[in-house]
């Protein structure tokens, strides 16, 4: 690890001022991603701003039912929170599908949004990578790319966003609260992460000096019909090859009132197609509808060679997750059989 300055602000404005004043500074929350990347010399901040003393550890339920989860709430506390587990079980399930219990104890909800890709070339500082070093090239295009993107990639970067929690947040109604040098603002979740385009070094739309202070999530009408289905190389403690957050609101006549599908492991951000979802409204909540939606979601999918299998895997996973959701039998994260 390269030496760095260590700062420990006690409130949000101090943290923002310290971050805005130094372009080489980075924020430290749970440290489960930042410390790892610093050990590999993938990143070497000149200053580390430890935000763990900031008062961002509360979970509150607002009057309209929305949960406001502070950026420093741990992944474990969020997942097992009685209100969240009861009202937003899709979110709890997705969090519990990620990492390990001890990592979830350390990892924060803000940090989870901002975790970097697990692309092998990004992690190996001796190889070219446009995300790590803009303009150096991309080792994964034409290289080993089994874990890489099938949707929304660019010629400059084919990395995926590795989070499970974010896939559920994308399916639900989520807004990110941000504090910055010019004040506070709210970013709709689907606008928070970005596609790589010409600037793969930028994972998200935060501006210099901004920090995440909370996420606001709602979606209680999906609590009966939801499923987070994660497919990976081993049954636990591994990142998703493909994951699906599926949520349904079904009318008494069996037709769809509201449907959400977000995909993980397939793109630079959680992948969703709200227009295709809207067009499912009024249709029966059955396999034909789900298959048609899957085909549509994957219409632009393109493999990179090693990851071609993900297209078919994603198609089947979407249908399966929606069937689990429709039946009211969500994937149980401790029970590995997929029904």
């Amino acid at each position: 690890m390269k030496p760095f300055e260590y700062l420990r602000p006690s409130d949000v404005s101090e943290a923002v001022a310290a971050l805005a004043a130094n372009p080489e500074a980075q924020v430290l929350a749970g440290g489960t991603n930042l410390v790892d990347l610093m050990k590999y010399d993938v990143t070497h901040p000149g200053a580390v701003i430890d935000i763990n003393r900031l008062p961002l550890k509360e979970i509150e339920q607002l009057e309209d039912g929305t949960f406001r989860i502070g950026a420093l709430v741990s992944n474990s506390i969020a997942a097992y929170h009685a209100g969240i587990a009861g009202e937003l079980p899709l979110l709890s399930s997705a969090i519990l599908a990620g990492a390990s219990p001890q990592l979830r104890n350390a990892a924060t909800c803000g940090g989870n949004l901002l975790q970097r890709t697990r692309c092998y070339y990004f992690y190996d500082a001796s190889t070219p990578c446009n995300k790590r070093e803009p303009g150096s090239g991309c080792g994964a295009v034409g290289g080993v790319n089994r874990i890489h993107a099938i949707l929304g990639a660019s010629q400059h970067c084919i990395a995926t966003h590795p989070s499970d929690m974010c896939v559920a947040l994308a399916a639900l109604d989520t807004v990110v609260d941000v504090a910055g040098p010019t004040g506070d603002r709210q970013i709709p979740f689907l606008d928070f992460h970005r596609l790589p385009g010409d600037h793969p070094e930028r994972d998200n739309t935060l501006q210099q000096g901004e920090i995440v202070t909370a996420i606001r999530v709602s979606g209680g009408h999906f609590k009966r019909h939801h499923s987070y289905l994660k497919l990976r190389d081993r049954l636990s403690y591994a990142f998703a090859l493909v994951s699906v957050a599926a949520a349904l609101d079904i009318g008494e006549d069996g037709t769809i009132l509201d449907i959400r599908v977000a995909l993980g492991g397939v793109a630079h951000k959680p992948w969703r197609d709200p227009l295709a979802e809207t067009e499912c409204a009024g249709q029966p909540a059955n396999r034909d509808t789900f298959q048609a939606l899957a085909t549509r979601l994957l219409a632009g999918a393109r493999g990179q060679g090693d990851n071609d299998f993900k297209i078919e895997m994603a198609r089947r996973a979407i249908v399966r997750a929606l069937e689990q959701a429709a039946a009211g039998t969500p994937q149980i994260q401790s029970h590995k059989a997929i029904f």
Binding site: Y6, L7, T32, K39, Y80, S236, Q333
Partner: protein, 174 residues
Amino acid sequence: MDLLSNRSSASGLPVSLTINGAHHDVSVDPWVTLLDLLRGPLSMTGTKKGCDHGQCGACTVLIDGERINSCLKLAVSLDGAEITTIEGLGTPDNMHPLQKAFVEHDAYQCGYCTPGQICSAAGLLKEGHAHSREEIRELMSGNLCRCGAYTNIADAIEDVMQAENVGAHREAAE
């Protein structure tokens, strides 16, 4: 702002920690992890370094009662914390129930992952989210065992969990 250090810090930053009940005032450079502090300057080598990247669980300790991978925690960020390592859970003469159960069930071969497994299991029991063998296995999946002692590890934990439940029911009944 609470604390500052510059990059050429030769002296380190003051950190105070309670480790296994004993108070320690130490001076550490900000890039030193809790794992390296324990095993190096503090000579507490019970906690093991497997991967140093959060991928194996060998370094698991309890920080303020919660199981955490100590290889990914900067020691300086833990000022004021209470830490329990395998040395603090029990002694050879007065073993923690999990330590006893690991011995009884032969829940190791080389023993390298064992301190992390036991600290992790202690965290698991306290969390109270495991109610079946399947859930024990899932919620212990952050601890890898290169020797593959998983079956016996799950047996040991299941035993202690059942004994605790029996104890709790008895207390409730009394």
